[in-house]
Symmetry: C2
Subunit: 522 residues, 2 copies
């Protein structure tokens, strides 16, 4: 793998001067072009110690327009990152469209250093690299151009430079692993020789650069960047043309092809006001205690609400938050994105609100918008919403892996009940703002929404994050259901029994999940 880059190739200063200005202008222009085509560029710069990673970063900061460039380094988990799912820190630092993100070491630096020190098994390394590929896949699919460099030096040159460096400015090791890596060239290279094949994909290529000669190294990096950016722009243009051509022929899929999952939901469930008032208070008191315990144990909750307009999301959420100490809860209403959100991967706006260890985030409408409203209204192209199922499953897996209780609720009502509630909203003065033209328009597309919801349930009802379809024809019944499900999930996460002395795992299995609804009708 490294043989071809240890030729110690060189440019003379004169040769470099000749091409420098051309490369520089080209690079700068491509940055403007990328901005125009709504592309963001992420450049990973990794390499052997003293191979000039910092110098390359400095060169790129000079040649690109620095006003649209950010430097990011993920060399250690800071306190704020430690309290959140592992990829949170990468998501938090994603560049916007039109920007170049220089990621020194990228998301590879830390795991590679650890692996080279023997601090993780080969299997562990594979799992981590698999996650990186998934991350890169979803970024590449959503307007990110990814280029990864490994700056290479042969062992002799590496040793020589270490000596010079030590004499000149001394060596400051920012971590234990870094120090060890400096001593063990072979172990580092062995790791790189494993990591690169695991993560070299057509959407996020690795380039090994002969870094012996400064000029040759810089020219190699810049030429590669130019080629990659040109290709990305060409692909973007081609894709745009394809999409434009399709646009006229695209039809909304609105033929009901059978009984949808939602049609099988028993909507007759109801609850008296008396029973409701009593239960809601009891459950809130229970949830209050349990969320307090979960907080102390660093167990977070992510509660996601979807469902028909007027399905009672807001009311259910308020009964839920009424049972949690406000110090540890946040409700995130999802409406139109800000420009900072629009200029990034569509999941960024949800990542930024992911709860810290122990906290509770309630999303009023969620990332499922991608496969619901964006699909139905044509805001997302078919290939975009089709791949979103996998992207969402992967996002949710990360939450769950981080001691997060993830619950997804669909508040379900019949079209008749929806109509009744719409009309009621038009009648009651302080409810009028809650009903708009858009709600009526959405209602007309209910079949398309039902089809979209059906596919969503099938593709995202995972073992680790099942859907809970709540029969919400009776608001009282629905609110109690939501509170009960959350209560039981908390009990389970805390390894406790519920009020009746039952094991909670058993109780959870009896919840109104998609699985059960489907099974009941087979």
């Amino acid at each position: 793998m490294f043989n071809t880059v240890t030729l110690r190739q060189k440019y003379t200063s004169k040769e470099f001067k000749k091409i420098e200005s051309e490369l520089r202008i080209k690079l700068f222009q491509l940055q403007q072009e990328c901005a125009k085509h709504k592309l963001a560029v992420i450049i990973t710069i990794a390499g052997v110690e003293n191979s000039g990673r910092g110098a390359v970063a400095n060169l790129l900061s000079t040649w690109f327009d620095a006003k649209k460039l950010t430097n990011q380094v993920f060399w250690r988990k800071d306190e704020e990152a430690k309290l959140r799912p592992k990829h949170w820190r990468y998501w938090a630092k994603l560049p916007m469209q039109g920007e170049v993100g220089l990621f020194l070491g990228g998301w590879y630096g830390e795991p590679m250093r650890r692996a080279a020190c023997g601090d993780m098994s080969e299997k562990e390394l594979m799992v981590i690299m698999h996650d990186k590929v998934k991350l890169e896949r979803t970024l590449a699919d959503n307007n990110y151009v990814l280029v990864k460099f490994w700056l290479h030096l042969d062992e002799k040159e590496h040793k020589k430079r270490q000596k010079i460096r030590k004499a000149e400015k001394g060596v400051c090791h920012f971590s234990h692993f870094e120090k060890e890596n400096g001593k063990n060239y072979t172990a580092v290279l062995d790791t790189v020789a494993k990591v690169i094949p695991m993560t070299d994909t057509d959407f996020a290529r690795w380039y090994i650069v002969d870094a012996y000669d400064k000029e040759f190294r810089d020219a190699s990096v810049v030429k590669t960047l130019i080629r990659t950016m040109e290709e990305a722009i060409a692909a973007q243009i081609l894709n745009k043309a394809k999409v434009d051509a399709q646009e006229d022929t695209q039809v909304i899929d609105s033929t009901d092809t059978g009984i949808a999952i939602l049609d099988r939901v028993d909507l007759s469930k109801t609850l008296t006001k008396e029973r409701y008032s009593e239960r809601v208070k009891e459950l809130q008191n229970e949830v209050y205690q349990l969320t307090y315990e979960a907080f102390q144990k660093g167990i977070s909750s992510t509660l996601a609400f979807e469902g028909w307009d007027a399905g009672g999301k807001g009311g259910a959420i308020r009964r839920l938050t009424g049972g949690i100490d406000s110090r540890i809860t946040r409700v995130i209403p999802i409406s139109s994105p800000t420009d900072e959100e629009l200029a990034r991967h569509y999941l960024w706006r949800f990542w930024r609100h992911v709860p810290m260890a122990g906290y509770v985030t309630v999303y009023d409408r969620t990332w499922y918008g991608r496969v619901l409203v964006e699909r139905v209204e044509g805001f997302a192209r078919p290939e975009e919403w089709k791949r979103a199922y996998a992207e969402i499953n992967s996002f949710e897996k990360q939450l769950v892996d981080d001691k997060n209780i993830l619950l997804k609720f669909w508040m379900h009502i019949s079209p008749e009940e929806q109509l009744r509630r719409f009309k009621e909203r038009e009648q009651v003065s302080w409810k009028q703002y809650k009903i708009t033209e858009e709600d009526w328009r959405n209602r007309e597309k209910s079949t398309a929404y039902k089809i979209a919801a059906d596919e969503m349930f099938q593709r995202t009802d995972t073992a680790y994050a099942p859907w809970h379809i709540i029969p919400a024809e009776s608001k009282y019944y629905a609110r109690i259901e939501v509170l009960t499900i959350y209560r039981d999930a908390l009990l389970q996460a805390l390894h406790k029994k519920n009020g009746h002395g039952e094991q909670c795992s058993a109780k959870i299995a009896r919840l109104k999940s998609v699985k059960e609804i489907t099974k009941g009708h087979k």
Copy 2:
């Protein structure tokens, strides 16, 4: 203070029902009005335990449009806040224009609880409260409507509710201080009776609410909110009218009234290329070591660059970052704000990049834009940029108080040298993008900029954050100056001597500061 609110006033359900819908509609409408007038609302809800703070927050979440409402609680310093200046967490969570921020306990909860436990002296409490008033002042001056509630119960009722609460859902104390507070009603009230007079201002009023009766409490809160929002909107309209009337008569102050500070700078300083190349390397090596040490001690650096167009900011910044490990450095280029930035206090976009303990943030253009470009171009109204000096001084004080090395550089060149560099930029192909029509326009306004800069130096050259005017006619000289000043500041912060064995405090005093320039000419 509390006598008037212990009357246990009541509304019957019927009385409340009668006004409920009117209040609710009004509140909702005013939220829309505030959005239209670019106002953000921050509501602090504090009070005696079990006085219904959570219930009031829930009511407001229901009555306001929840899509434009955020809940924030600052009950403890999370890890991410601990690593930053004390007010960072409040700035980080500021609502946008058009939004309502419900701040439970606001920025009062934590200090009040501590004070009531005797955990701080009266003097300490006063200092903290003085800071809160300053924070509220700058928010109120920049489109924030502030309302603060203390929900009150007499001691007998307080004790009674504690008992009920304990029986119903138990008591979970989220902090030691909270637990102590619950036990000591008198101490809490004594503290409140100190805090309220210290922080009750015409721009951020406290309202003590009789919270004995649920309906009376809710109506009091909502009525107060309605009145405050109405007043704020009226004031905004009046102000707008005044500004519109002034607009025609407003002239840019461009008469040079004497010798400006910048005219006294000795621009003859220069350095040979040989000497430069040698020194830059030496200094970078020194700075590398020192920033490493500072990182380990949690000492941050905030390096702010201002100066004439083509003054050499970018070049100096790159020589600086060339001497710091990229893992701990971030360069923040300041150009046009995003919409999330525009919708908040103008300092918000700088607060969001304030370095964590040990890290280095370099701002390429800074918060001084408020009193430079925004003043000269009329983007900020006179009263806005005039009060900005104090706002900026207060912002910088907070950085310095947080173990931050704050250095402010003005890169100074003569108009002739600027012209030469502009022309050179037009000649060199890869520099062309750096020169725009705007640069030429700014150059024409150089007298206005000089006057603005002069006032800026005079008002913001503080003991804790002096300005360093760098004679930048020679790029080599300027870059070495910047590196030297930073090196010396690091030495001083680390209590070290410099290379010549001198005490650094002495060395620092010899720097090219505004003070020295002024003195030299008196």
